[in-house]
């Protein structure tokens, strides 16, 4: 149920890697937990972010959360469309709902990330813990 072509973090972000370029978004599980996402605060293009650092602010109807960077580096592009259409993150989390593109400083940081199968097991375990 989770796309195979991306890697997953424990904070429910996905990363799609092409060379040193990583595209980041939140998983379908994350968007379901958040409910209707109504606002997105994006970082500035060209700024730097560290692994686990706050990448974007998310407002949903029931909570306010953050997207954390699964890898560190320079933010080369952000998805400005989300400012007008935050619903993309609910409707198409792996497509139009992408958040930012990061030029990785250290591709080695990808090592700890999970595969689709591992993430599915991780989510199942989280859910069982309540």
């Amino acid at each position: 149920m989770y796309p195979e072509n991306v890697k997953y973090s424990e904070k429910h972000e996905w990363v799609r890697v092409e060379g040193k370029i990583a595209t980041v978004g939140i998983t379908s599980f994350a968007q379901e937990q958040l409910g209707a996402i109504v606002g997105v605060g994006l970082p500035e293009e060209g700024s730097k972010v560290e692994k686990h650092g706050a990448l974007a602010d998310l407002d949903s109807m029931k909570t306010a959360d953050q997207v954390f960077a699964p890898v560190g580096g320079k933010i080369v592009k952000v998805n400005r469309a989300l400012e007008q259409h935050p619903e993309f993150m609910n409707d198409d989390p792996y497509g139009d709902g992408w958040v930012a593109v990061i030029e990785m400083a250290d591709p080695g940081e990808l090592d700890g990330l999970m595969s689709a199968a591992e993430y599915e097991a991780f989510v199942a375990e989280e859910a069982s813990k309540g």
């Binding site: 606002g39 605060g41 407002d59 109807m61 029931k62 909570t63 306010a64």
Partner: protein, 446 residues
């Protein structure tokens, strides 16, 4: 008196239904050692009649601005409040309601707030307004915090010509938030733009000026905005909403955030509160805006309705990461402002501002023609101005009281350099005759 409908019989039957034998049993989880073992030491209860008499007696120990002819302003103004305002805000469906969290049963207040927001946007020529803040002073502090969040900078520059109590409140907030506050001085009765230019840097989150300033002067807001923007800082304009009938509004000179005290819009002076803090801003700043905001939406049948929105900014959702801790605001004062501004309308707001302008300038010309009374600057002003007095201004005040005139504010406490000066406010309520009698009284004192 306790306004409790339960009778003794109700109480005993209810206790039985609960399954306890006494009230005491319901309180049994409060540890003995923290129980109050005596009655509270408070005055004896009163009947409604006795209370009304007591309150009347207490009120009569004050001398009101109805008994006196008031030329006192300095942030609280004796503007006329039409009867419609008092009557409509006294509708108890409004004033006995809580914050309209359940939108469908609170459409009246929500629509009124939406109208208030629109009116304030029009008046200030800004894009969005929140639903109100506590007062002008806290609105300045909130605007500073908002600018720091927006720019991710930690320093604000404020003019000394901003109301001293607003600056004091800003300092209190800023100190605790770790925001540095720099003050810039005055030259020729207005903020010194050259000094401002020297102080503002790439570390500055915002520049805050008030126009008309505390001393009444119309400030060079456009120039200050340019200075702020050159360094990537926001420009916060603190304004008197009544003045905007005639003075350029913040949106016309490039302000990013407009704030101010809305007491003049239909609220009585009430010894300092409750008043109305307003905050309007540019569209793109809205997600960093503090406080509640009402928005338009629709129901499944397409009927238009209003709802509190963008709540993810607020404390009950975002908790420690909220844009502000504010919860209760000044909704009823905002309602008063909506009624008042709708009463005035497009022409009324201009006429009212013009009346204040005319009467204040007449008073200024008359007073400064008196021997010994001198103008403090040549800066343009709206409804309030500073005059230097030939005898200490405190003595002038005391003297005027003998003629049942409440004089202007002696400025020494706030501005030592104006220790010999008085801040005089003239609203539309003052007649030519009253202004002339002020002049006669001043002449007699000099």
């Amino acid at each position: 008196m306790n306004y409790v409908p339960n009778t003794d019989r109700d109480r005993s039957e209810m206790l039985a239904d609960i399954g306890v034998s006494s009230m005491e049993e319901l309180l049994s989880d409060i540890p003995r050692e923290v129980r109050l073992q005596r009655h509270l030491a408070l005055p004896a209860p009163m009947s409604e009649y006795d209370l009304a008499r007591h309150m009347g007696a207490l009120a009569s120990k004050n001398r009101t601005t109805d008994d006196l002819v008031s030329f006192l302003g300095a942030g609280a103004y004796d503007h006329f409040v039409p009867s419609v305002v008092r009557h409509l805000v006294s509708r108890s469906e409004f004033y006995t309601a809580y914050t309209p969290y359940q939108a469908e049963i609170s459409q009246g207040m929500l629509q009124a707030i939406f109208e208030y927001q629109t009116l304030m946007c029009e008046l200030t020529a800004m894009d969005v307004s929140n639903a109100s803040l506590y007062d002008g002073a806290t609105a300045v502090a909130e605007a500073a915090a908002m600018a720091c969040r927006q720019t991710r900078r930690r320093q604000v520059v404020i003019s000394v010509a901003v109301h001293p109590e607003y600056r004091a409140t800003l300092r209190t907030y800023a100190r605790n938030l770790g925001i540095e506050v720099l003050e810039t001085g005055m030259k020729d009765g207005v903020t010194d733009i050259e000094e401002l230019d020297r102080l503002v840097s790439s570390a500055t989150a915002c520049v805050i000026l008030q126009s008309p300033s505390f001393l009444g002067s119309v400030e060079p807001m456009g120039k200050a905005a340019e200075v702020a923007h050159r360094s990537g800082a926001l420009f916060v304009a603190c304004v008197d909403p009544i003045s905007l009938g005639i003075l350029a509004p913040p949106g016309e000179y490039g302000a990013d955030i407009a704030v101010g005290e809305g007491q003049g819009l239909g609220s009585p002076m009430s010894f300092g509160g409750p008043y109305l803090g307003f905050l309007t801003c540019r569209q793109d700043l809205v997600r960093n805006m503090p406080g509640r905001v009402a928005g338009e939406t629709h129901d499944p049948d397409g009927r238009r309705g209003y709802i509190l929105t963008l709540q993810a900014r607020e404390q009950h959702i975002r908790r420690e990461r909220a844009t502000s801790n504010i919860c209760s605001n000044e909704a009823l004062s905002a309602l008063a402002a909506a009624v008042y501004l709708s009463w005035l309308g497009k022409d009324g707001v201009r006429e009212l501002a013009d009346l204040c302008l005319q009467k204040a300038h007449y008073a200024f010309d008359r007073i400064t023609a008196l021997p010994g009374f001198e103008k403090a600057s040549r800066a343009p002003f709206f409804k309030e101005f500073v005059v230097r007095t030939p005898i200490p201004p405190e003595e002038v005040s005391a003297g005027l009281l003998r003629s049942r005139i409440l004089g202007g504010l002696p400025l020494g406490r706030h501005y030592p350099e104006f220790g010999d000066a008085m801040l005089i406010a003239v609203t539309e309520k003052r007649t030519k005759e009253e202004i002339d009698s002020l002049c006669r009284a001043l002449e007699g004192l000099a």
